[in-house]
């Protein structure tokens, strides 16, 4: 059996390039390479000749020239004398902040809608179906423009808030919704607030450690909490409920019906949260760890963190340093439309993920005597999340890319600064588009790397 017959030596013939598997792949690749190089050379040659004809060059030095235009939402120092690269940076930050808040809200909306869509409650699940189908089947750009139009046309003007009997009132006595945008309270950090923040961060770390300890404890004993901790959890419920009621309580100084209704609502909220915390002790202990030290520190330091509420001056509300935060209509319309649109897709993902966990899993868990909320958190969610998370992250990516529609409504994101005004002012289409695409590509590739890493980690280990 050791006799190995040498394959007959064949002399190379030209047709073996495509008839012989040994040469074919190399041959095809060389041809493809040549074709691609030819195409690239053709494009580059055309570009060079076109640029020459227009008397342009390929040069990024324009980035350091003054931008000489204003941006209406700046998160870092920027004036019209700042260079173009800084304008681009402002735009990038605007893109990122919009994407960040959008991702958070679309997740919240999507998870709630997806779970309610599966609810046995007929009205609720139908309502969610209507929302999901309406939001998914209408173009996002249209939704953005529609919300923008609604905000700027139907909200009261700032002057409607003036006078003894104003035509408009603040929402929750804190938020001014005007046709120019929304004004929300800004937290002001005065001396000593560092201690409060520090205590809060420390409690966060403490919570993390406690969670690990709790898990170990549960694994060892089967008990979720020690009896003492259970008492603490139950004991925390009443003061927490009182605090909630006090937070929402409107005060006694006015005697109208609206105040009475608000008072009833506040008491209801307080009682509801107390009941919730009394029932779910683990949650209660977590909240206690998180809130009690920070609240104590807050009062010990003499309430160093206050809120700057919207304040009318002349024909408008004040914004800027020490005043309320001003959220433009363009930002709000984008945020709302992006969240609702992406939320509908997230809802479908969440629903699909939960449905994909086979029914036997929840039945088996129920047969083991687990309660519905434990079945959800211990059996269904861990399996569903494996399915949900990758498409969920790619929805985040879609949302981030869709923030580029901001240009249609005048929000100055990176497409509006770098790909809009800077490009039009300097006439550097090639350079600006390259930078713009590179920015989005970096984000996309980072996010896909995250998805791939996650998929690798949660992959079912088979064979």
């Amino acid at each position: 059996m050791t006799a190995v017959t040498e394959p007959p030596q064949q002399s190379f013939r030209i047709e073996m390039l495509w008839t012989d598997a040994r040469y074919r792949s190399g041959f095809l690749q060389v041809i493809a390479l040549m074709l691609v190089m030819l195409a690239v050379a053709w494009v580059v040659d055309n570009t060079i000749r076109n640029l020459e004809a227009l008397g342009k060059d390929f040069d990024f030095s324009f980035l350091f020239a003054p931008a000489s235009y204003d941006i209406n939402q700046v998160l870092i120092d920027y004036t019209s004398r700042s260079p173009h690269w800084r304008a681009a940076l402002v735009g990038m930050l605007n893109t990122l902040i919009l994407a960040f808040v959008g991702c958070i809200t679309c997740t919240i909306i999507g998870v709630i809608a997806g779970v309610l869509r599966l609810s046995k409650n007929w009205v609720v699940s139908r309502l969610m179906l209507v929302y999901i189908e309406a939001a998914r089947n209408v173009p996002l750009l249209l939704q953005i423009l529609l919300w923008g139009a609604i905000f700027s046309e139907t909200m009261p003007a700032p002057r409607d808030y003036r006078g003894e009997e104003p035509a408009a009132t603040l929402w929750f006595d804190a938020i001014a919704a005007t046709n120019r945008g929304f004004y929300i309270p800004r937290p002001l950090f005065e001396a000593g607030s560092g201690v409060v923040v520090g205590v809060f961060v420390a409690s966060l770390i403490g919570l993390f450690i406690w969670n690990r300890w709790r898990k170990a404890h549960q694994n060892a004993t089967g008990q979720t909490l020690t009896p003492r901790l259970e008492q603490i959890g139950k004991g925390f419920a009443v003061p927490a409920g009182l605090a909630v009621a006090w937070l929402f309580f409107p005060g006694f100084d006015q005697g109208t019906l609206a105040i009475a209704i608000k008072a009833v609502v506040a008491l209801g909220l307080g009682a509801g949260s107390a009941w919730l915390l009394y029932t779910f002790n683990t949650l209660s202990v977590r909240l206690a760890i998180l809130s009690v030290p920070a609240v104590l520190a807050f009062f010990v330091m003499g309430s160093p963190i206050t809120l700057a509420y919207p304040e009318l001056r002349g024909f408008n509300f004040l914004d800027g340093e020490g005043q309320a935060i001003y959220l433009r209509n363009s930002f709000m319309a984008l945020w709302l439309a992006l969240s609702l649109y992406t939320g509908a897709f997230v809802a479908e993902i969440v629903r699909g993920g939960i449905l994909a966990v086979s029914k036997g899993q929840s039945e088996a868990a129920a047969a083991l005597g687990l309660r519905p909320n434990l079945i959800m958190s211990l059996v269904i969610l861990p399996q569903a999340l494996r399915i949900i998370i990758p498409p969920q992250i790619s929805q985040f990516l879609n949302l981030t890319k869709n923030t580029s529609l901001a240009i249609a409504i005048g929000y100055m994101d990176v497409t509006g600064t770098l790909g809009g005004i800077t490009m039009n002012q300097t006439g550097r289409e090639m350079e600006c588009m390259l930078l713009l695409m590179a920015f989005y590509l970096v984000i996309s590739l980072t996010i896909s790397a995250v998805i791939n890493a996650y998929n690798e980690r949660v992959k079912l280990k088979e064979r």
Partner: protein, 448 residues
């Protein structure tokens, strides 16, 4: 044990089956349904009441705004408001659908010449006829229908854009010459010259030679001798409204499908270089927003082409959205390819099929079947994304709103036109998503 003299003390023996008693009245019928679906427990009951309260508050308002109080016939917004003041009371407002009513043709056709509007309508009807055999397999005469589908791009082009047919007719001569050359060379017995590659090269070379040298003069000559023949030509910038949306969507998707298939195959290919090109293309296009690609179409595409060549914006947009859709379709098909059991590939190899035979007869039919629902979803996305062309100044249904708002008659209208366009898109997209579900059911061959 056998003592039977003692009378049995049995108290009761059932002599017949007792009829099953009906379920409690409160668990069947309407009441049962309401209890099970609306008020199964306190929390759900509260939720139901909340939702019902919301609907009771919302629906009458909506009905009043959209139907009861709405004005359907008026020449301007101020006229609308006068009518509302008269019918609803001073300062009361509802929807003014009159704007949609008056500008309906613009929403449908953009600035397409009014006397030629029958052409897009006919093209649309024929489009449905052409799509029928592709979308529904149960239609009769499907084979003949597919031939019509193949011919439709030309018919559609001449119906919409019009223009003389001589350039195209003479263009076809080149195709014929190329095919003839391919056949001739392929029929040779010679081992080198008789092969597919050389024959293809010969065909392409002959056709290219014809197009570069003879096509122009021949076309001009016939046109000069016989005069232009064909429907009146309509410039691209007259296109708009739903017409533009359908043109962009259908053209890009039908061009993107083959490109997407090739890209997906390229991404799976064993040839490193081809795989690299495909991956770079797909990841690049998927990584940037569509609007940047449209900006490329408006600003940069001109730089990439030979100096002096200038072709119209709609075509440039179609090219970029084709690339965009192709990258996404490639990913959808890649999913289908990956879902195919390895045994299928191995069995094809074992049968001795070549790569293209295996791909055509074994791999693609199954992979495409798996990925069709996601391809339809991509098409829905693309259809919605065509609204982005309004940002670069094309007059699609969304882009036509701004010029209408700028007219003195309709300045100040808020939501009506957006709502109308939203409904328009909703109808199309919703129908397509239902079709995708229908396909999913029909193509499901497993027996779960």
């Amino acid at each position: 044990m056998t003592d039977t003299s003692v009378p049995r003390q049995t108290a009761f023996v059932a002599e017949k089956m007792i009829e099953a008693s009906p379920p409690p009245a409160n668990s069947v019928g309407v009441i049962g349904w309401v209890r099970a679906n609306l008020f199964p427990d306190v929390l759900n009951g509260a939720l139901t009441l909340l939702c019902v309260a919301f609907l009771v508050w919302l629906l009458p308002e909506l009905y009043h705004w959209a139907f009861a109080g709405a004005v359907w016939q008026a020449g301007s917004l101020s006229e609308c408001r006068e009518i509302m003041n008269a019918t609803l009371g001073e300062g009361q407002r509802a929807a003014c659908w009159a704007v949609v009513n008056e500008r309906f043709n613009q929403f449908m056709f953009g600035y397409y010449p009014a006397e030629l509007r029958w052409r897009p309508v006919l093209a649309f009807v024929l489009l449905i006829a052409a799509l029928g055999p592709v979308l529904f397999t149960w239609l009769p005469y499907r084979r003949q229908g597919l031939l019509f589908t193949l011919a439709y791009p030309v018919i559609g082009y001449y119906l919409l854009w019009g223009g003389s047919i001589w350039p195209f007719a003479t263009f076809l001569i080149g195709v014929g010459a190329g095919v003839a050359a391919f056949r001739y060379v392929f029929a040779q017995e010679h081992p080198v010259f008789g092969s597919v590659g050389v024959a293809l090269l010969a065909g392409i070379a002959v056709a290219a030679l014809y197009w570069n040298v003879l096509w122009g003069p021949i076309s001009d000559g016939i046109e000069g001798a016989l005069g232009p023949l064909g429907p009146e030509s309509v410039a691209s910038d007259r296109f708009g409204g739903l017409l533009l949306t359908v043109v962009l969507g259908v053209t890009s998707l039908s061009a993107a499908l083959p490109l997407g298939i090739l890209l997906a195959l390229g991404r799976q290919s064993k040839l490193l270089f081809i795989r690299m090109i495909s991956v770079v293309f797909i990841e690049f296009v998927r990584g940037v927003p569509l609007i940047t690609l449209l900006f490329v179409a408006t600003t940069l595409l001109g730089y990439f082409l030979p100096p002096g060549s200038n072709f119209d914006l709609i075509l440039r947009v179609i090219i970029m959205s084709t690339f965009f859709a192709a990258a996404y379709i490639a990913e959808a098909i890649r999913g289908g390819l990956a879902a195919l059991p390895k045994g299928q590939y191995e069995a094809a190899d074992a049968l001795g099929l070549t790569y293209w035979q295996a791909t055509r007869k074994i791999v693609l039919p199954q992979a495409l079947k798996i990925s069709i629902p996601s391809i339809v979803n991509i098409f829905i996305g693309l259809f919605k994304d065509t609204t982005l062309v309004s940002i670069i100044g094309l007059a699609d249904p969304l882009g036509i709103i701004q010029p209408i708002l700028a007219t003195p008659q309709w300045n100040g209208i808020v939501a009506e036109m957006y709502v109308f366009v939203a409904l328009l898109f909703f109808c199309f997209c919703f129908a397509m998503s239902r079709y995708s579900m229908y396909l999913e059911r029909r193509l499901k061959t497993d027996h779960r």
